[in-house]
Point group: C2
Chain length 301, copies 2
């Protein structure tokens, strides 16, 4: 089968609530996939290993594996703690070695990065960021995270971005909700994540009607955050994924409010005239995560 | 003379109020320098050309020229408007061609970038950012600007960063000053630039005593901005230059408040334990600007 489809890659989208494992090819086609809840590291990673073992028997050997994981994590191959989760509120996962159990079974290169950097790489390879060298992939759901490419390479630096935790203007007159981030209270994530919406309005985001005032306020905070990212990074495009951004009414609001808050300061036609192609949803849709892991596998090779 | 000192480079630090022109060598040594007020583009650039013509007669030919300029500007060599200033409040400089008059006289490569990207490159070459691939250079003075390297290359993306214009939390109870940015009111620059300090407190920043409450508030805003940049970019170091940051009492306050506002969220010893070497002044001091221009010249070659 390898003769026909070329190399095979394993991808793991490691989320805080569920793991998605898939085998894909160089074209970003998924040949096999499974998903299961995230429990303990031992149990969860054993299920991932079991899936790949089984698949390689029918599909053929994997050329490499990519893991796009929740964080914070250590993505630096030169570090002794490469492939580990850093201190996290998620029970049992602090200092968990994610890459180790895979490496013990599969003697192939293993890529490891944040879920958002993975998704960014997938969008760059097959989706909404093809041909760009500097862009952001933002996810707004249970948490808020951001990654991307700058100068053609994934963002790392000291560790990796934590875009959900930037401070934002927060008027208590406009919005008395105090924010729900355990570290920073009313940071971007504390004001605009799915759980923040639920706590502020007393109902899950997906149950709020499209004309609920929640969406205007949500777009307000997202637009302020985008202005912050635009002024800091000067991205060529911003991709917004995650459950909250899937509400069809919110993207036009975000675009309009981003233009308003930038106030024509950044003189680029991409923002002034073509905002609809500047702030976009993921082209890979719900597959952005696992295809991102496949893209990390390819890059590891 | 070239035999002894190697190649010679021309550097222009193009500021909003003054131009500094210099000839330097590969070691970052300045062999000749002049400074004059920024007037009209024609007159100012003619003085720069005149200086380099004169110097080459005694020192020898220039291998390349670098311009580190106030912005906004077009730093993309592939663009038709490369080397131009973009729309700016500075009278006479909108759409000014900065590189053209130099190219008309000197048949050498000409580098062109923002003043802060230039300063960042200079600090990377000879100063406080040697060996790093991802860091920020921030200047806080008449305006606030930021640049830097990400993944080993200068930050560009869509255009170039405008770090002074990120939104920040602003409590009117704590600080009733409404901000003085003509575009955004109370953005980072609107709250924390030199003119903002002067307008808020009724006295120039350099005349305020070291125990004036202005410095605590100033450090508060700078720390919030640094948290924003750290969460967005994950820099390995932050260099803070500019007149305001030269007050010796402010850097310790900024370091302490940055740790406080991050609240140990970014688990790196560089921030948790070694903040004194994470947030630093420019090693090149007052020469960071013009040496940055020399570094841009070298890179253009």
């Amino acid at each position: 089968m390898n003769t026909r489809s070329g190399l095979l890659f394993g991808g793991i989208e490691g989320g805080g609530t569920k793991f998605v494992c898939a085998v894909g090819n160089e074209k970003g086609e998924i040949l096999a996939e499974t998903r299961f809840p995230t429990t303990t590291p031992d149990e969860t990673l054993a299920r991932a290993v079991g899936f790949f073992k089984q698949q390689t028997q029918t599909l053929g050997a994997l050329a490499s594996i990519g893991v796009a994981s929740f964080g914070p994590l250590n993505p630096r191959p030169a570090s002794a703690k490469y492939g580990h989760i850093l201190p996290t509120p998620k029970p049992g996962w602090t200092n968990a070695d994610v890459v180790g159990p895979l490496r013990a079974v599969f003697d192939v290169p293993i890529g490891f990065d944040t879920d958002v950097n993975g998704a960014a790489l997938g969008e760059w390879r097959w989706g909404a960021a093809q041909g760009l060298d500097t862009f952001i992939y933002l996810t707004i759901g249970t948490g808020i995270g951001g990654g991307g490419l700058v100068n053609g390479e994934l963002m790392h630096g000291l560790l990796h971005p934590e875009m959900g935790h930037i401070p934002l203007p927060h008027s208590e007159a406009l919005d008395p909700f105090e924010g729900n981030c355990p570290f920073h209270g009313d940071c971007f994530e504390g004001l605009a994540s799915g759980p923040a919406i639920e706590k502020r309005w007393g109902g899950k985001a997906e149950t709020l009607s499209p004309d609920h005032p929640a969406w205007d306020l949500e777009a307000h905070y997202i637009a302020l955050a985008l202005r912050s990212f635009i002024c800091t990074l000067s991205p060529q495009r911003i991709i917004i994924g995650g459950g909250v951004a899937q509400q069809p009414q919110i993207l036009p609001l975000i675009r309009q409010k981003t233009q308003t808050t930038l106030n024509a300061y950044v003189q680029s036609p991409d923002i002034l005239e073509n905002i609809d192609t500047y702030i976009v949803p993921p082209a890979l849709g719900g597959q952005a995560g696992v295809l991102g892991a496949i893209a990390l596998a390819q890059q590891a090779l």
